[in-house]
Amino acid sequence: MKKYSLALMVVVCGVFTAAPLKAEVVAKSVTANLSVYNKDESVWKGAKEEVVTLMLQPMVAPKPKVTTTEKVTVQAIHDGKWLVFRLRWSDPRRDEAGKLGEFSDAAAIMFPVNEGIPPPIFMGAKDNPVHIYHWRAQYQHDEEFGKKEMKDIYPNMSIDMYPMEFKDPGKVKGLTEEKREQYAQGKAAGNPQSYAKHAVDEILAEGFSTSAVIENVESYGKGHWANGEWVLILGRHMSREKGSNLAAGKETNLGFAIWQGSHDEVGSRKSVTMAWTPMKLEK
């Protein structure tokens, strides 16, 4: 009961005053090149660790019944142009989806787009958008190994043939990828979800049900799961014209969300921060 009322208090704070929790992330200024994934452990030396509390997404159904990820440890560094986060959270199983009814582990970091008082933490508001960096283990697989084909998902499946898939495609006149894609409706409709993904989706949203993927992506992500813990490096370009625009010395706010595929978490079924976490970018 105590836990519940505390959670409720946090909800109230988050909604009505957008009051930041005391945790503060400080992005340490470093000299290393962060424009690409930097696997050098030493760049994180001295970067402050901040533990951020999450709870089940409580606002819109469908929502989870239990909080699966209670906390995420956050560190941040920047090189003046790129801002990089290191997130750690425990997750007993690695999930990157594929088969029917399977869901991928995922994480997201959210920034308000406008300066000043941030919008409600629940995916922003009309004319007060948020900029979200959404990493999925499934998307990372796309980037590293290519998008899974049916034979990767179901190795033992047998099929006579797919429409427009011939053994000697060169011999068939007028056979184009576009014609093949007519039989994959998501692709034919140009849904980014149906194509091989970059490890991180960049999304703009102005409230629930409004999220839309941005096409030009200036971010990267690399997650590594071992011994029941995900460690995710997520980097983004600091200056984004139409998104959240940051610079050394500035302050902003962060929101976090974590999904555990093993608990069928996807979409609105997730653990989230209930108030903005302030962040300072060192000069």
């Binding site: 029917l100 009814g101 099929i159 994959a184 998501g186 979800q193 049900s209 999220s211």
Partner: protein
């Protein structure tokens, strides 16, 4: 939650959005006494819509043997079990709970989430009958050992659970014909529709990573043609048309006639609260309590009425019109033993005799100098 009118339950109920009925509502009526589970409908649909990657397992139209067949596995009993025992007395509104009303606060609808293995047996239970046939058994009516075939498409419900559950609002119901579609460019494949639809007619495509469902053959419907599963039904057990709510029902509309005027075509699992728009003429020889669970408390009345259609020339005429044209019949009449179907403008589409003429021919064919055989 909004309060909406559900005529199938004869009461108001809770739903995620306000009541907004389309200009007209796509509907199919199936005569279950005639279905032989040849699966021609399933294949007509499959070759038209789901031959691509990620659609291997999909049957937007399927036919399952009841009581033991189901696809995905046990979809019906699992939803009913989750909903729990509910009462529905004959000639009364349904006072039990719908899947929307019984849902936990975290969910939009009572549901079960099918897993990979649940989609592996499209033919499970096929031709299995309820009860064991032992030596000395003989047929009695209604059959004490029974089964029947249940062909199913999406019901393009008036209150779709898939639409209610989609957090991205990527599912919409068309104003012009009530067909429910998943926006293939907006869906993100969360699978909430797959979980929420009690009939399990939303399906996830593992290749495109978005969900798909029966599209009601809308390109054909827009041209005045019935869906492929209806056009290709060799048993002529189906008719697709537009159903009105009872307060707007027209006796000369084929679907309204069967659903409202005669009351012999019933929605399936109406108690779930979706106001589904596929209607069934129940099988007359199957177990009555099972049929009541599936079609509601009026199933007995519908069966008794159906048995007497022989003496009703208009009803007989309409049953003959079923399957006699690929086009959508907006209106029909039966005059002087001739049943006629009309299009939206009122032009004749098809006209057939209610009783085929019986022609007797002599056994010896003098013109060809041969004896006529009985074998075709």
């Amino acid at each position: 939650m909004a309060v909406v009118k559900n005529w199938q339950l004869k009461r108001d109920m809770e739903y995620a959005y306000e009541e907004s009925r389309p200009k007209r509502q796509w509907a199919i009526v199936f005569d279950l006494n005639k279905c032989i589970a040849c699966q021609t409908c399933s294949l007509a649909c499959k070759t038209t819509w789901t031959s691509g990657k990620g659609q291997e397992y999909m049957f937007w139209n399927n036919v399952e043997t009841k009581p033991y067949g189901s696809y995905p596995l046990a979809w019906d009993v699992r939803v009913l079990e989750k909903l729990g025992k509910q009462e529905w007395k004959k000639n009364e509104p349904y006072y039990g709970k719908t899947i929307f009303e019984a849902a936990d606060p975290e969910e939009k609808a009572v549901h079960f989430a099918p897993k990979d293995e649940d989609w592996m047996y499209p033919n499970i239970g096929e031709d299995d009958c309820a009860g064991t046939v032992v030596a000395g058994d003989h047929i009695s009516l209604p059959h004490d050992k029974w089964f029947f075939y249940l062909p199913r498409t999406c019901a393009h419900c008036t209150y779709p659970a898939c639409l209610a559950a989609c957090p991205r609002k990527a599912i919409y119901k068309r104003e012009e014909d009530g067909i429910v579609l998943i926006d293939q460019s907006r869906c993100k494949g969360y699978g909430e529709c797959v979980r929420a639809c009690p009939y399990k007619k939303s399906m996830y495509n593992t290749y495109t990573r978005v969900s798909e469902k029966c599209v009601g053959c809308y390109p054909a419907v827009e041209q005045g043609y019935q869906p492929m599963c209806v056009q290709n039904c060799i048993g002529k057990i189906r008719i697709m048309g537009f159903v009105n709510p009872p307060w707007k029902a027209r006796e000369d509309n084929p679907v309204d006639y069967l659903v409202h005027k005669q009351g012999i075509a019933l929605p399936y699992y109406p108690q779930l609260g979706l106001e589904p728009n596929i209607y069934y003429i129940p099988p007359i020889h199957a177990d009555r309590s099972y049929l009541e669970q599936m079609f509601g408390p009026n199933v007995g009345t519908a069966i008794e009425k159906y048995k007497k259609l022989e003496s009703d020339p208009i009803a007989k005429g309409l049953l003959v019109l079923m399957g006699s044209s690929d086009r959508i019949l907006h209106r029909f009449d039966v005059v002087n033993g001739q049943a006629t179907g009309y299009d939206e403008k009122g032009d004749t589409i098809v006209s057939v005799p209610v009783n085929e003429a019986l022609i007797e021919r002599p056994a010896f064919d003098a013109a060809n100098g041969t004896i006529r055989g009985n074998t075709p």
